[in-house]
């Protein structure tokens, strides 16, 4: 971990773009300060020796949890239910932005 990260205004705008978020001028300045503050705090992890330690993804030890073949699906939505919460639909389909 690098010592004292300083996020620039460009970093903030880049992150916002990656996350598909629009920020106001004011938010850019606030987040630049607050995110840098947070990254400063978490540097305390560098004080610990983590060599050869296995990372924990989940605190449960469950492995390979799958449905058996042929399990009846009890939670399927009807087309109407699946479309109930959308604002834009056409001929029983979701309307999405053009991507090509």
């Amino acid at each position: 971990m690098k010592k004292t990260v300083n996020l620039s205004k460009e970093d903030i705008l880049h992150l916002a773009q990656l996350a598909n978020l629009k920020l106001s001028e004011k938010e850019v300045i606030t987040f630049q300060k607050q995110l840098t503050e947070t990254l400063d705090y978490v540097e305390n992890l560098n004080e610990l020796n983590i060599k050869d330690i296995t990372p924990t993804n989940y605190s449960t030890d469950i492995k390979n949890c799958t449905f058996d073949d042929g399990t009846v699906c009890e939670r399927m939505f009807s087309q109407e239910e699946a479309l109930e919460n959308t604002n834009e639909k056409k001929n029983s389909y979701f309307v999405v932005k053009r991507i090509m």
Binding site: V42, L45, Y58, S59, E84, N85, T86
Partner: protein, 461 residues
Amino acid sequence: MNLLGKSLTQLQSLLKSKEVTPSELTSYFTERSKRYNKDLNAYLTFADKEVSSSRGELAGIPLSIKDNFCTKGVKTTAASKVLENFIPPYDATVVTNLKNAGVSFFGKTNMDAWAHGSSTETSDFGPAKNPWSIERTPGGSSGGSASAVSAYLSPASIGSETAGSIRQPASWCGVIGLKPSYGRVSRYGVVAMGSSLDCPGPITSTVEDAALLLKIIAGKDKYDATTADIPVVDYQSFLQKKNTYTIGITDEYFVGVNNEVKQKVMESISVFERIGHKVKKIKLMAPKYAVSVYTIIQRAEVSSNLGRYTGIRFGKDRSFFGGEAKKRIMLGTYSLSHGYYDAYYKTAQKVRTLIIEDFKRVFNEVDVILSPTTPGTALRLGEFAKYPFFGEVMDILNEPAAVAGIPAISVPCGLDSQGLPVGLQIMGKYFDEKSVLNLAYQFEKETNFFDVIKNGFQNYH
């Protein structure tokens, strides 16, 4: 009949002996909730048409539930404008289990938007207030639930924790909050925040009620692959056992804790000694490391989980996210991005292993660990902004248990000189909710929580 302050188990008997009917109960709580909601803003939605079943252990009992649990046909917003009009087409497993036990849900409680926060102030629908002093926050993120139980607007409520969101508001509102082990209660149908941490749990006015609700909501769920196939104990019967425990206390959990809170917790520790338990000094990793681990992992999981809110299938588009959600999404995006993944996310996961091992080591010596729930009592509305991370430090003593996935309860242990409730935290071994509850129950029998809960109800008689 004066129903004020009756616990779930008392209401069960009153229903059984037909001294009160299910519809009377529902009207009682709905009316009280609507009357006091102008002051407390504890509820976001009332489900007026919901009726309880006449069958099941909790037949006829009305409950409230945090607004991040999907309730079929009843608006579920997670206190965010993004989901302002979202009507789930299915129930969360916790909701299904309680409905099968006869419960009806009359209200959805206020919370921090997406459960991001520790004060309910990030709610897009205005903050909930603390019944002990309405200029103060009830804590959060399950602040609406804690506020409602504290003012007896709901006989109990279901909240959820990622790190502190049940225990901290329970502590500040002077009620009981139980965070079960991760994997004990299904997350299916809960608006996801930090998927490796999220954990539903009860907020109640007696330990027995917490035990009763846990038994109903706990267990393996085929729709949540992280729920463990470990048998559910009859927690309620287990309360009657007069077990003696070795209780661990550690100086690390008293650093930065205000003196009045410290004093109340020390007095409680002497109560445990007096009733025959053994208190032992232990050493644990400083909670500040858990804060860092939690901050990195939770932000990363948030950025991934909130990616689904595109405004296409449901909800509104991403321009409706509030500041806190945006900030967390961006930090998560940063720590998961190319070149930073190892430095942040992987490091945090490794330290998470250290924290888990640290608890395992200590639990070879002691049965439970006791500490304050929070470093101070309820803050004034707006006061959180003065602290870094918008008050993440208020959850500092809750985050180690969350990161390790172990169970913990907060119970009231007195009032400070401003008349605000102080919370005592009991942490237990992984999947040993029964010991945590048993010890909390013994404390309740011995002290009645110094009448904190009872006096809280009197504020809203």
